[in-house]
């Protein structure tokens, strides 16, 4: 090193000094691998008049949507067409995982069961997951990835934007953070839909096919749940999101020279949908991958 260190040297020094001040080297091998509470120090007292069980069930829905979809996005790591896209997808998945952690932590506290985020993510069976079926299937290609990301982020952004005024201050705070993130996610997806839809004949055809394939899963996003109705002022009734989501999707589709698909909604089974614990075949494979290590070594620490 020279007498007047270059900038990169001073950064290295800072890194080194930082590393040396650690009380134990164990936690340094990777960030965030410890099981800490995502809501550490946040006041999680239930607001007066809010039904804790219903609030827990509602946070579970929102948390499960993000958890499962984040997992699907993570499966694109090392498979994305370019490094820039992989970085984007990794960051989007990370934002959603962060939202999921806080929502699951809120759920386990609000419903009185005191289950932490890990108990909820790793030790529930498929019928106890409350995510919509849209987040379950694997993407067959990049167009399918982008189609679902557009629909999911448009819908979730509209939902979270309403939740910023929720009577539950924790949910409102989680939503306010999420809105900023989801705005970037939606813009990213919308730009890709435009590029592919209004691109070559081949990219247009595949983008349209991806939208057509996705469409049967979209209707379910707007089914109002009893849980939502049981939480006036706290939760958002899903059906009220449809107009706003439609405007955005129609704008993007028109700009991308794509047709709005007309496919019929995917049927339910005896009145049950994803939110009721009824899931598609793909869901079992996700849970197996997500949960198998935690279940094989339930007491493991690292």
């Amino acid at each position: 090193m020279s007498d007047s260190p270059a900038m990169s040297d001073s950064i290295d020094d800072e890194f080194a000094a930082h590393a040396l001040t650690q009380d134990s080297g164990d936690h340094r091998w990777a960030f965030g691998t410890g099981f800490t509470d995502a809501l550490e120090g946040v006041d999680t007292t239930l607001p007066a008049g809010v039904d804790g069980a219903a609030l827990g069930a509602y946070c579970l829905m929102l948390g499960d949507d993000a958890l499962i979809y984040s997992h699907r996005l993570q499966q694109w790591m090392t498979r994305a067409p370019e490094l820039e896209e992989e970085t984007a997808l990794g960051n989007i998945a990370l934002d959603l995982l962060g939202q999921a952690r806080m929502l699951l932590a809120r759920a386990g506290r609000a419903d009185g069961t005191d289950r932490d985020e890990d108990a909820l993510a790793f030790f529930r069976d498929d019928k106890d997951f409350r995510n919509v079926r849209l987040v379950e299937r694997a993407d067959a290609d990049f167009a399918e990835l982008i189609a679902r990301l557009l629909v999911f982020s448009t819908w979730r952004l509209a939902q979270f934007d309403r939740l910023t005024t929720s009577k539950d201050p924790v949910l409102a705070a989680i939503a306010a953070k999420g809105v900023k993130e989801l705005t970037y996610h939606r813009d990213y997806a919308a730009r890709w839909v435009m590029r592919l839809g209004d691109g070559t004949e081949l990219s247009h055809r595949r983008m349209q096919a991806a939208m057509d394939n996705l469409w049967p899963l979209v209707d379910e996003l707007f089914h109002t749940q009893q849980t939502e109705s049981a939480l006036p002022g706290v939760a958002v009734q899903a059906e009220t999101l449809r107009a706003e989501v439609d405007v955005v999707l129609d704008t993007v589709l028109a700009t991308a020279t794509l047709n709005r698909p007309a496919a019929a909604p995917l049927a339910c089974v005896r009145g049950r949908y994803g939110r009721d614990g009824l899931h598609t075949e793909a869901f079992g494979y996700i849970l197996a991958e997500l949960q198998s290590v935690a279940r094989a070594h339930p007491d493991a620490t690292w």
Binding site: H18, D23, E40, E84, M102, A190, V248
Partner: protein
């Protein structure tokens, strides 16, 4: 029993961010509050993004440095609201980022009422290259090595660089 001789705030303020070690927690605006009573201290921090993986590391660092300075009882709490904004990065923090080759963010401003508008075009604000100052730069990705940055390339000096996104 040795009582701390330095204020808890001055110690907490100097803790570097694990992912952007050229700036401190205070520079980034993620240090929200420090309450000191005798040798007990409560530090409040806020995450930049929901999934920020550095929060645990930051919490460890704060605890460790404050204990070393003589604070026996250190608590680190998270505060989610109001959500972090890149507008909270101090002028000193912005200068440090730029000196390290990372372009500091434009003002995030406040959003107009009504639904959040789609942004389908390029950013309207040019981002100056932190190396050669040219504004002939292009965004190559809205996302980069960490959630809080995007990736740019300078068309004059041809170097890639990162830009802290406005949120």
């Amino acid at each position: 029993m040795v009582m701390p001789t330095v204020s808890a705030r001055s110690i907490a303020e100097q803790v570097p961010d694990p992912e952007l070690p050229m700036v401190s927690l205070a520079d980034l605006g993620i240090l929200r509050d420090v309450q000191q009573q005798g040798d007990a201290v409560t530090v409040t921090i806020t995450p930049t993004y929901s999934g920020c993986p550095a929060m645990r590391e930051i919490s460890h660092d704060l605890r460790h440095r404050l204990r070393q300075a003589g604070f026996a009882d250190v608590r680190v709490r998270t505060e989610l609201s109001p959500p972090w904004s890149s507008d909270w990065i101090t002028d000193v923090g912005r200068a440090k980022l730029e000196a390290a080759g990372i372009a500091p963010p434009h003002p995030a401003g406040s959003r107009p009422p009504g639904p959040i508008p789609l942004s389908l075009g390029r950013s309207q604000h040019p981002v100056a290259c932190p190396r050669c100052r040219s504004v002939r730069t292009v965004e190559t990705s809205r996302f980069s090595g960490t959630a809080c940055k995007s990736l740019y390339r300078c068309q004059d000096c041809r170097e890639p660089f990162e830009y802290v996104k406005e949120i």
